[in-house]
């Protein structure tokens, strides 16, 4: 069941488009904002609300990499692995994160606190390597900086 807040947030998004379907990505993000990810049940609820079939909505949901169809940790880290960040050492950050969290890219740390996902260029190439923790962007990240971010983020 969608909460009243979710429902009204989706309906607000719906206002911006001539068709219900057009609001589907926004709607999924509304649900994801509160629940972290999109469960099958949530998918069905959103589909019903927008008069889409489960198949139609999942076809869209599984296309976009920022819609999570599997559970994620309490906080999601997007680690840029695009070219400028690679030149500036994002692989090192990846290794460091793996060591610290015991989880590879795409996995969730055992304590369920962090999921680290690879991300396309975050538009902060002049401060490469860059990463985002939830909605905050961090630039010029070093392994030490990673430790600090993880600390803050927990």
């Amino acid at each position: 069941m969608l909460t009243t807040q979710e429902r009204s947030a989706i309906e607000e998004e719906r206002e911006h488009y001539p068709t219900a379907r057009a609001a589907c990505v926004e709607a999924l993000k509304v649900v994801q904002r509160t629940r972290g990810w999109i469960s099958d049940e949530a998918l069905r609820d959103v589909a019903d609300l927008l008069k889409m079939t489960l198949d139609e909505l999942d076809g869209v949901a599984t296309f976009y990499n920022l819609i999570y169809r599997r559970p994620v940790g309490r906080r999601v880290m997007l680690l840029c692995d695009s070219v400028s960040c690679w030149i500036m050492g994002c692989d090192g950050l990846k290794e460091h994160l793996k060591m610290r969290l015991g989880a590879d890219l795409g996995q969730t740390s055992a304590d369920g606190r962090f999921t680290v996902l690879p991300a396309a260029c975050l538009g902060a190439c002049d401060h490469a390597p860059a990463l985002m923790l939830d909605e905050t962007l961090y630039g010029d990240v070093t392994p030490q900086e990673v430790d600090r971010i993880l600390q803050e983020g927990s």
Partner: protein, 876 residues
């Protein structure tokens, strides 16, 4: 017409086509995947690359996708260009990177477009050394097997299922090199056209699950051109057998009828259309009940002997009851045997009056009987009363295309070529119509309707009449009628090729008259309006053309012997009436291949051949005579009904017929004869050139290869000698061409229509003037209309195992208000007395039903109830 130069040679081609289509039409080999003749181009697979040159001085050229390039006048291309060839081989190589290469265990093997194209491009060596991706497969229900690892991501399946057929429970998931085609979760595919994925998918992702139970490679099957026996539309099929077992049904292209697609009833309803030998319990032709009446013999010539013993010698009255599911030839044979005056057409009395009304309307004109192709091209449609998806399924698919016509016209004017499906769909978005649906209950086409209206059949007729009046004031007015669907008359009048769809399923004479009035009114306004009437069975129209007395009259006749042709009378009239009749008649002889309540009351049951075991002609709803051909070699004692009757004639000292041609000659209708050309020159082989095991198959019986069974009834042979691709369309047993082993070979064949239209309209039609009174609900009683089910209503397919799995339990549909008045809810039961019998029905709630109307599933026992009728219902 356009001139194009291909590899230095100049050709005339249809300039409205794309280059790929043009090349294929010229029978040139050019590989492709995502293009489909009925679905157009989207440019996804990139397999059809050719080199295009600006002019004759341009030697460099550039690669283009043939399917995305118009065959414009003056176009110069090369298929053989080395770079084009290298690119095409590269496309196959990419597709093969992840392909499992499991041809030996793949049901597509030997009829696989991917195999064919791989061979055609010459890609033979695997260079990729990296692991392949794998997917999870889904259980999609009783019709289709799903094996995603074989997918080459051509997107044809989603395009067919969603864009073409309107299904919404199937899609594409994921992105990049992880795209998945299937359902969001396992489950039965809802579309009534899902089976077409078997042919649409160029690989072994979607294969026929019914075939898998008795699998045989395409090249090892013996094929015959056939006509679907499972509704009145007469879709063209290819049916296949091996070792005396019917194995599968595939589509056979008839551009004016089914085109490239069948419905699932037609494709999967075949499995009981033959003598069932594996399971003696289910042996349909054992006349066990008749033994009770002291007749044990019924097979072969002894059956005829028994028949002549008691009927040949008797001086009493012999009558015959024909059948709308038997061939023209068998009906005619019976008519000949018993004489015109003693022949009854075998339709229920209601159907007989409805169909003869339809026939009159179509003969009188001026509106023509529309073919499915006409329907597809209609630019406005008005459906009166029919739940098309369930009464004439393939028609629903044509109607789904018709709703695009108006928009297509606009888009075509804007310069987008209509084969350019990707562009067309984007420009079209959700624009559709006009399609108006007026029916007693919701239909599966409502999602594309401009407007829907639910009412009792009489009120639907009033709507139709009122629309006709609005279009043409000459047509009778309907006083006091308030038009529920605005601007409907305008929309129909604005169309150039409007079509009115109606039929027999509501059992309403005024409704059919109303449909005629609308079409005629449009004709009077100068529109090329056509009529599309659905009829219930594969030869209903033929039976009506042949004529014959009413069943009610047969029941009154003082007959001593009755011969009943492929007909269960309990589905045509009330049980008490039929019981009385069959009890009264001294000798009841039934020719059938189904075990029915009627066969159980027979004194003698003669095993008749099914459509797969015999050849003959049926006439579809449009009045098109089409021939079906035997695929299963004859096996004692099964014979075509007309042959049984011929033997009776001979036994009675009259002349019979030795072949189908002789029956046709006796019928004396040159057009019916011309439905398929007669034998000319070498016989057409039913077996593909690579048919194997010819001698080994029966080696356990004899090591000598038996001569092919004779086939006096067709120009086809039970053999592999000869070359079938040159056969004319009505005689083409299967699609195969060197290098083209899959169904995609269809384009190598003549693409002309087949069948002969028997009814052409005159200019005599005069408006029907009678206007029915508004429907008035009754207290405690409901006007119960029949609810048709694609899976279950039609008796010849109803017992096929896959169809059984999809059939629903019969229910009585009620408005929720009515149900609660009766004190029942969904799943509860109601009962009513009919014909002195008490019936019990499970209740289903359908809020859209009009006040005072209920719907009853038309299956099995409810067929003889005489729907539509008033029923007093109470809680059971």
């Amino acid at each position: 017409m356009a001139r194009v130069v291909i590899d230095g040679k100049s050709y005339e081609v249809d300039g409205r086509r794309n280059l790929l289509h043009a090349c294929l039409s010229l029978k040139l080999d050019l590989p492709y995947f995502c293009w489909h003749p009925a679905m157009g181009s989207v440019g996804a697979c990139r397999q059809c690359a050719v080199k295009q040159f600006k002019d004759d001085r341009d030697t460099a050229g550039r690669l283009v996708m043939a399917c995305m390039t118009p065959a414009a006048d003056g176009t110069r291309i090369s298929i053989d260009d080395p770079e084009a060839k290298a690119f095409r081989a590269s496309v196959i190589e990419w597709l093969m990177l992840n392909h499992p290469h499991d041809c030996p265990v793949c049901d597509e093997g030997g009829e696989c477009h991917l195999q064919d194209m791989t061979v055609m491009t010459g890609h033979v060596v695997r260079r990729n050394r990296f692991p392949k991706r794998t997917y999870h497969n889904q259980d999609l229900g009783p019709f289709l097997t799903h094996e995603m690892n074989r997918c080459i991501q051509c997107y044809r399946c989603v395009r067919f299922y969603r864009d073409y057929a309107g299904g919404r429970d199937f899609d594409v998931f994921g992105a990049h090199d992880q795209v998945y085609f299937g359902r969001a979760e396992d489950g039965v595919l809802e579309s009534e056209f899902s089976g077409n994925l078997v042919e649409v998918c160029p690989t072994g992702v979607f294969t026929d699950k019914t075939l898998a139970r008795h699998y045989t490679r395409k090249w090892d099957l013996q094929w015959a051109p056939s006509i679907c026996a499972h509704c009145g539309l007469g879709c063209n099929t290819s049916v296949a057998e091996r070792g005396g077992m019917l194995r599968r049904v595939m589509n056979r292209v008839n551009p004016e009828v089914n085109g490239h697609f069948l419905c699932d009833r037609g494709r999967f309803g075949y499995e009981r259309a033959q003598r069932v030998t594996e399971d003696p319990e289910k042996e349909k032709r054992t006349p066990e009940d008749s033994e009770k009446k002291g007749l044990s013999e019924s097979s072969g010539s002894s059956g005829v002997k028994r028949f002549s013993e008691f009927s040949g010698s008797l001086c009493g009255l012999l009558i015959g009851i024909g059948s709308p599911r038997a061939s023209m030839e068998s009906n005619f044979a019976l008519q000949t045997l018993v004489g015109k005056d003693h022949f009854y057409s075998g339709l229920s009395d209601l159907d007989a009056s409805l169909v003869s009304l339809i026939l009159d309307i179509l003969r009188n004109g001026p509106a023509r009987a529309a073919s499915l192709q006409d329907v597809e091209n209609a630019d406005a449609v008005f459906i009166l009363g029919e739940d098309v998806t369930n009464t004439a399924p393939r028609l629903a698919l044509s109607l789904r295309q018709s709703v695009r016509q108006k928009a297509l016209e606009r888009i075509g004017k804007g310069g987008i070529p209509l084969w350019h499906d990707a562009a067309v769909r984007e420009a079209m978005q959700d624009e559709h119509g006009p399609l108006f649906i007026a029916t007693p209950y919701a239909t599966r086409l409502d999602d594309v309707a401009t407007a829907v209206w639910r009412a009792a059949p009489d009120d639907l007729a009033r709507l139709g009449l009122a629309v006709a009046h609005e279009i043409d004031a000459e047509a009778p007015a309907v006083s006091g009628f308030r038009m529920p669907m605005n601007s409907m008359a305008d929309a129909l009048r604005d169309a150039r090729r409007p079509i009115v769809v109606c039929g027999t399923s509501c059992g309403s004479v005024p409704l059919i008259q109303a449909a005629a009035n609308v079409a005629w009114a449009l004709r009077r306004q100068g529109r090329a309006a056509d009529l599309c009437f659905t009829v219930p069975e594969c030869n209903t129209m033929g039976a009506a053309l042949l004529g014959g007395g009413r069943l009610g009259a047969a029941f009154e006749a003082e007959a001593d012997t009755v011969i009943i042709l492929e007909n269960d009378l309990y589905g045509r009239a009330g049980a008490a009436q039929v019981d009385g009749f069959l009890g009264r008649v001294k000798h009841v002889v039934v020719l059938d291949h189904l075990r029915t309540r009627t066969t159980s009351k027979a004194h003698l049951v003669l095993p008749a051949a099914t459509f797969a075991e015999s050849s003959g002609t049926t006439v579809n709803n449009e009045g098109r005579a089409q021939r079906f051909f035997q695929v299963l070699p004859s096996r004692e004692p099964v014979m075509a009904s007309w042959r049984w009757i011929s033997e009776m004639l001979v036994a009675a000292g009259r002349t019979g017929w030795a072949s189908l041609d002789e029956v046709l000659a006796a019928m004396g209708d040159a057009r019916i004869r011309a439905a398929a050309p007669p034998a000319a020159g070498q016989r057409i082989p039913r077996r593909p050139p690579r048919y194997s095991g010819r001698t080994a198959m029966a080696a356990h019986v004899s090591v000598h290869e038996a001569p092919p069974p004779p086939d006096p009834d067709s120009p086809l042979a039970f053999s592999m000698e000869g070359f079938s691709p040159e056969a004319p369309p009505p005689l083409t047993p299967f699609f195969w061409w060197p290098g083209w082993n899959s169904i995609q070979a269809a384009h190598k064949f003549a693409d002309g229509p087949s069948g002969v239209r028997l009814i052409e309209p005159g200019q005599r039609g005069a408006f029907f003037r009678e206007v029915p009174a508004p429907f008035t609900p009754r207290r405690g009683e409901w006007w119960v209309v029949p609810v048709h089910h694609i899976f279950g209503t039609e008796e010849q397919s109803a017992m096929a195992p896959a169809i059984v799995k999809r059939s629903v339990e019969p229910t009585l549909a009620l408005r929720p208000e009515d149900a609660s008045d009766l004190g029942v809810s969904t799943g509860g039961a109601v009962q009513c007395m009919l014909d002195e019998r008490t019936y019990r029905f499970r209740v289903q709630l359908r809020p859209e039903l009009p006040v005072g109307v209920a719907g009853l599933s038309l299956m099995g026992a409810t067929k003889g109830v005489g729907l539509p009728c008033w029923m007093a219902l109470r809680r059971a």
